[in-house]
C-alpha cells in the first residue's frame, strides 16, 4: 500500500511539473498524432539552458510537410509557406550575411489563437499566432512578448522611445550590420549605434527572445476587431473574410520592415520604401504564397 501511495505521489509530482509545458505545438494539424511527436521533437530537453531548440530546419520541415506540399485542410485554409523560401534567398547575398528567417520567426508555435478565422472557436481553428498579435502600437510597431515562445526573431535596434534597446544581457544571439547602401562603406554597427530612421543601412538583429516586457495596450483603431485575453495578455481576432491583404498581418512584417532601415513601409528612409502608412496591408502585394520575383503577387 505504501508503495502504491509512493508511486501515486511521484506521479502527481511529475505531472505537476510537466503539465504547464505539456501542450507544446497547439496546431491541430501540426502534430502527427499517430507518430510520437512531443516536446523533444523541437526541443533538446537535456541540453544546456531551458528547452534549447533542437534545430530550426527540423521545425520548419514539420510545418512544411503540409505548407509546402499543397496539402489542404477541410477549410482550404492551408497556405503554401513560400514566403519563408523567398526570404531564404537573401541568405548569402551582399549585406545579408547569414540572415535567415523560418516559420517560427513569425509564428509562435506555443500560442494558438484564431487570428485568421473566428468562425471557429479559439483553440479549434485558426493558425499559429503571428508575432505582433499582441500589440502595443497598432500597425506601426510590433514587439515580441517575452516568453512568447519565439526561438529567434528579428528585432531592430530602435526601441519604443527612440533610444537604443538594452542589449546588455546575453539574450542576443547575433546580429549583422551591412554596408551603407548609399556610400558603400562598411557601416559601424554596435549596440549603441542604432540606425536613424533616415539611414539606408540594413541592420537586422537576431534575438533568442525579447528583453523588455511590453505593456499591452489596445489601440482604438483596432477595436473593430474582436479582442480577448489569453494567459493574461490581450489579443485581437481578425474576422476571417479580412485575411487577404489585411493590414493586421503587417505586424509580423513590420518587426523588420518598419523598424529597420530596409524596406520601410512608412517612407521614413532606407531603400525601396513604400508610402503606405495605414493605407494598405503588406499581403496585398506580397503574398504569403508567392515565391518568385521578390514574392510580389
Amino acid at each position: 500500500m505504501k508503495r502504491h501511495v509512493g508511486v501515486g505521489l511521484f506521479g502527481l509530482l511529475v505531472g505537476g511539473i510537466l503539465l504547464p509545458w505539456a501542450p507544446a505545438i497547439q496546431s491541430q494539424v501540426a502534430v502527427g498524432r499517430n507518430l510520437k511527436m512531443d516536446c523533444s521533437y523541437c526541443h533538446n530537453v537535456h541540453g544546456t539552458g531551458q528547452f534549447v531548440v533542437r534545430g530550426e530546419a527540423a521545425i520548419e520541415a514539420m510545418c512544411q510537410t503540409c505548407h509546402a506540399t499543397g496539402w489542404t485542410d477541410p477549410n482550404d485554409a492551408t497556405k503554401v509557406a513560400a514566403i519563408v523560401k523567398a526570404h531564404e534567398l537573401l541568405s548569402g547575398k551582399a549585406n545579408y550575411g547569414t540572415y535567415k528567417i523560418s516559420c517560427i520567426g513569425c509564428h509562435n508555435p506555443h500560442r494558438y489563437l484564431a487570428n485568421a478565422d473566428t468562425s471557429q472557436p479559439t483553440g479549434e481553428w485558426g493558425n499559429l499566432s503571428l508575432i505582433g498579435n499582441l500589440v502595443k502600437d497598432a500597425d506601426t510597431t510590433r514587439d515580441a512578448i517575452p516568453q512568447d515562445g519565439i526561438a529567434r526573431l528579428a528585432r531592430p535596434f530602435i526601441n519604443d522611445g527612440g533610444t537604443p534597446a538594452d542589449f546588455s544581457d546575453d539574450t542576443m544571439e547575433g546580429y549583422y550590420c551591412g554596408v551603407n547602401t548609399v556610400s558603400g562603406n562598411p557601416n559601424p554597427c554596435s549596440e549603441t549605434d542604432p540606425p536613424a530612421s533616415s539611414d539606408s543601412v540594413r541592420k537586422v538583429v537576431h534575438w533568442k527572445k525579447a528583453v523588455d516586457p511590453v505593456q499591452v495596450e489596445i489601440d482604438p483603431w483596432e477595436n473593430q476587431w474582436s479582442q480577448g485575453e489569453f494567459d493574461g495578455q490581450k489579443y485581437i481576432h481578425v474576422p476571417a473574410p479580412t485575411l487577404a491583404g489585411q493590414r493586421w498581418y503587417n505586424g509580423a512584417c513590420n518587426v523588420c520592415h518598419t523598424r529597420t532601415g530596409h524596406h520601410r513601409r512608412d517612407n521614413s528612409g532606407g531603400d525601396r520604401n513604400h508610402n503606405l502608412e495605414k493605407t494598405a496591408g503588406c499581403p496585398e502585394c506580397h503574398d504569403h504564397n508567392a515565391n518568385k520575383g521578390g514574392w510580389i503577387k
Partner: protein
Amino acid sequence: MSYQVRETGRTCGARHRALAGAFGIAFLLLFALTATGQNRLGDPRRIAEGRHGQLVVSDDALGVVALDKQTLELVWSCPLPGSPFAVAEFHGLVFVGNTATQNVEVYRAKGGQGKLEFLYNLGHSEAGQPGFFQLPTDMAIDARQQLIFVLDSRAKSVKVFDVKGRFLYALPPVGGFTLLSPSAIAVDGARGEVLVSDYGDPSGFFGVNAPARVAIYSYSGAHLGLIDGNKRFARPQGLAVDGLGRIYLAEALLGQVFVFDRYSGTVIRTLGSFGTGAGQLALPLDVVVDQKSGDVFVTSNISRRVEVFRGAGRLP
C-alpha cells in the same frame, strides 16, 4: 478530339543558354550551381525518370529542371509560369502539373536539351484558363499501357488519361475506398496497381481518425490493400515501386525513405536520416528508383538538392 499545337515562346536551352533567358532568381541559383558544381536547386518537389540518362525535377523557383543521373549536374532548366508541382516524362513529352494554373501542361522536349514547346493541357482545357484539376500534385505513367495517372489532391481522386490527353476515368469509384488527404502517387505497371500516399485523418478532421497510409488500388479502382502508417510514418509523400514490387516512400517529417515489402507491409530498410548534410534528407518530397542501377534519387526540399543513394535499390 483534336487539339491545336501552339508555340508559346516557352523555350529553354541548355545550361549555357539558359542563363541568358532565366529570370532573376533562377539566374542567381543557376549561377551558383554553375560556379560551384553543386547540385543546388531552388525549391525541388517531384522527380521522375527522363530521357538520355536524365532526371526531371519540378522546382517552384526554377521551373522544370533536368539533372544528369550520374553527376547530378544540372543539364537544363526551364522556368515556367505558375507553380509546377507534378512532373513526368514520356517519349519526349514533359507533363507538368501546375497548381497555380490548375492544369497539367504538356510540353514537347526538343533536342534533348530542354527546349520545351507547349502543346496542350491535359483534358484539353484552354491555355490560360482554369484547368481540369484543382490541385495536381503528382502523376505517374504506365508506359506499356500508355496511361497517365494524375493525382488531384484537393479533389481526392486520381484521374486517368491516355497519352493523347483524353480523360478516361477517375478513381476511386463512387462508393470505393476513399482518399482522405492524398499527397502523391505511383503506378506498378507489372501488377496493374495504383499506389497513393495519404496523410490520412489522424486528428479527425473528416471524422475518420485514420492514420497516414499508402492505399493500393487496381487500375479499375478496386481497393487491394493499404500500408498502415500507424506509429511508423505520418507525412508520406512521393512513392516509387521497383521491379520486385517493393515500395519506396519518402517520409517528409522524419527525413527518411522507407522501403516496404509490397505484400507484408513490413519495412525492409530505411534510407537517409533527417538533416541537411550529405546523405541526409530535409523535407523529402519524392523518390525515384533507377530499375537498372538500383540508384535511388530523392528530392530534399529544404536542402534544395537531389540526394542519391547509389545501389540502394539492389536489395536481397
